[in-house]
């Protein structure tokens, strides 16, 4: 650190602009978002990656390409306001069914959440395929097992979900604060039932057990009780 401070004293601008060039090159070339540790690993020792990134973010703020933070990692994305010019309908995901979209929203806002809890919220049993579709797209994943009788699988969203919707963290989900404030994210009706709000880190909550080897193999949900298909 002392070394870096000395360097900065000599030609601080040249130093920073070199570091910005390096990070810019790395982020442009990468096919996936990079985290600060990866980026810092390519910078001279003692570089302040935060400063570099914030300078770069500012540089690109008004451009056609912006520096974005996705799932805690950094990446360049085309500017959102140019969407109308670049929009490619053809690439769009096959439209989700209303049921699938509700599942996705419930999982996003209530995670970790079990299938039974999703059914509770929707007031209807889930058709077998709905979760599979979301798992297949890669927007949700099985997180663990709830420590309750039957040890049901808990679901959560993935980094791919955050990337798809341009979110840096689950707390950035639209309306998250309002929903939380209104108590609408409480899983169960008794208001004193304390349900953790969606968490960004992948650590299991105290009432989750890790998945076992078998859980990660297809076929999915084999051990969940069969339910009749929903009518919609």
């Amino acid at each position: 650190m002392a070394k870096s401070l000395r360097n900065v004293a000599v030609h601080p601008r040249a130093e920073l602009s070199h570091q910005m060039r390096v990070v810019e090159a790395l982020l442009f070339a990468a096919s996936e978002p990079l985290d600060e540790v990866e980026l810092a690993g390519c910078l001279p020792e003692g570089s302040d990656i935060e400063t570099v990134l914030s300078a770069l973010k500012q540089d690109y703020a008004e451009r056609g390409v912006n520096l974005a933070r996705i799932a805690g990692k950094w990446t360049f994305r085309t500017a959102e306001d140019l969407s109308f010019l670049l929009r490619r309908e053809a690439v769009e995901q096959k439209k989700l069914s209303r049921a699938a979209l509700e599942h996705l929203a419930i999982i996003a806002y209530h995670q970790p959440v079990t299938r039974a809890e999703i059914e509770e919220i929707r007031g209807v049993t889930s058709s077998k395929g709905t979760l599979d579709i979301l798992l297949e797209i890669g927007w949700i994943r099985m997180r663990g097992r709830r420590r309750t009788p039957g040890r049901p699988v808990t679901y959560g969203t993935t980094e791919g979900f955050l990337a798809q919707f341009g979110l840096n963290a689950l707390s950035d989900l639209p309306g998250m604060h309002e929903l939380k404030g209104a108590g609408l994210l409480d899983a169960n009706l008794p208001p004193d039932f304390d349900m953790p709000s969606p968490r960004d880190h992948d650590d299991l909550t105290p009432d989750e057990d890790p998945l076992e080897e078998d859980d990660l193999q297809p076929p999915l949900e084999m051990d969940l009780p069969e339910t009749s298909d929903e009518t919609a």
């Binding site: 670049l86 929009r87 929707r122 309306g175």
Partner: protein, 274 residues
């Protein structure tokens, strides 16, 4: 659809255009009810749609009014002999019960959940479902990767340069040398040991062939050595033939005689052996 009764209502689509057309009662007269539960995902979904028809903030809906609408809806469906799934009927029974408790206040038992709380719980469930639907819609309204915003289209690949690092050390080298040289030596020794020899078996076979024709004493070993094999083999031939002749003598096939020590050895076929 046998039970379809359409009115002037515009067919209603979900905001995202998805799902079947859902025809629902609005605030109009009961006769205008349109019965089609096919489009609903269960009683909660139907209730939510009815609640939305109250055209007030979902947090301010009247559960009592909602219960009445639902029951009316179910009644109409039953009059038209529509088959309703069991959960619709269960919900109807529960709402009828709730309605009665809301309308006819009684002295609440201490063990009973107050009717107002039951109503609040239902309201909460409807709000929560509505909130999740809105959240889903908001999510979908966001700019999406690959549709509205784009990542780098042509990421530049990492080039991995592999350098080979040989793990061979001096011990490997010396071992390889020593072992190879030694192997070569051993190989040579084998050739040295493979001396020209005439085995006892060979000698015996030769003797047997010769004595078949000879009735007289003769130095057959000498003859074999002289005529049948290369000069190098002679010592071996003599030794082997001697051994073989002893064997044959013991078996009574031939006779051996030697006049004095170190003199020539004569053999002949034993007469009675033929």
């Amino acid at each position: 659809m046998p039970g379809d009764v359409r009115t002037t209502n515009e067919p209603q689509l979900w905001p995202d255009g998805d799902g079947p057309v859902r025809l629902v009662p609005d605030d109009g007269p009961a006769e205008a009810l349109i019965i089609d539960v096919q489009g609903f995902e269960g009683p909660l979904d139907l209730l939510l749609q009815l609640a939305r028809n109250q055209k007030v903030d979902i947090t301010k809906i009247s559960i009592l009014a909602l219960a009445e609408q639902y029951l009316k809806f179910i009644d109409a469906a039953r009059r038209m002999k529509l088959e309703l799934a069991a959960d619709y009927l269960v919900m109807a029974a529960w709402l009828a019960y709730l309605k009665s408790r809301l309308l006819i206040p009684q002295i609440e038992d201490e063990d009973d959940t107050p009717a107002s709380e039951l109503a609040a719980r239902l309201a909460f469930r409807l709000q929560r479902l509505q909130a999740m639907r809105e959240a889903g819609a908001q999510l979908m309204a966001r700019n999406q990767l690959g549709r509205d915003v784009f990542a780098r289209g042509a990421p530049e690949p990492l080039i991995v340069e592999t350098t080979r690092d040989y793990a061979d050390n001096i011990v490997d080298l010396l071992k390889a040398y020593a072992e190879r040289r030694q192997k070569a030596c051993t190989h040579r020794n084998y050739e040295i040991r493979r001396l020209p020899t005439w085995s006892v078996k060979q000698a015996r076979a030769a003797l047997e062939r010769l004595i078949g024709d000879m009735d007289d004493w003769g130095r057959f070993d000498g003859w074999i050595a002289e005529y049948l094999v290369e000069p190098d083999l002679r010592p071996s031939v003599i030794a082997s033939s001697f051994s073989a002749s002893l064997e044959l003598a013991r078996e009574g096939v031939l006779e051996i005689r030697q006049e004095t020590s170190f003199s020539d050895i004569y053999i002949r076929r034993r007469a009675e052996a033929v």
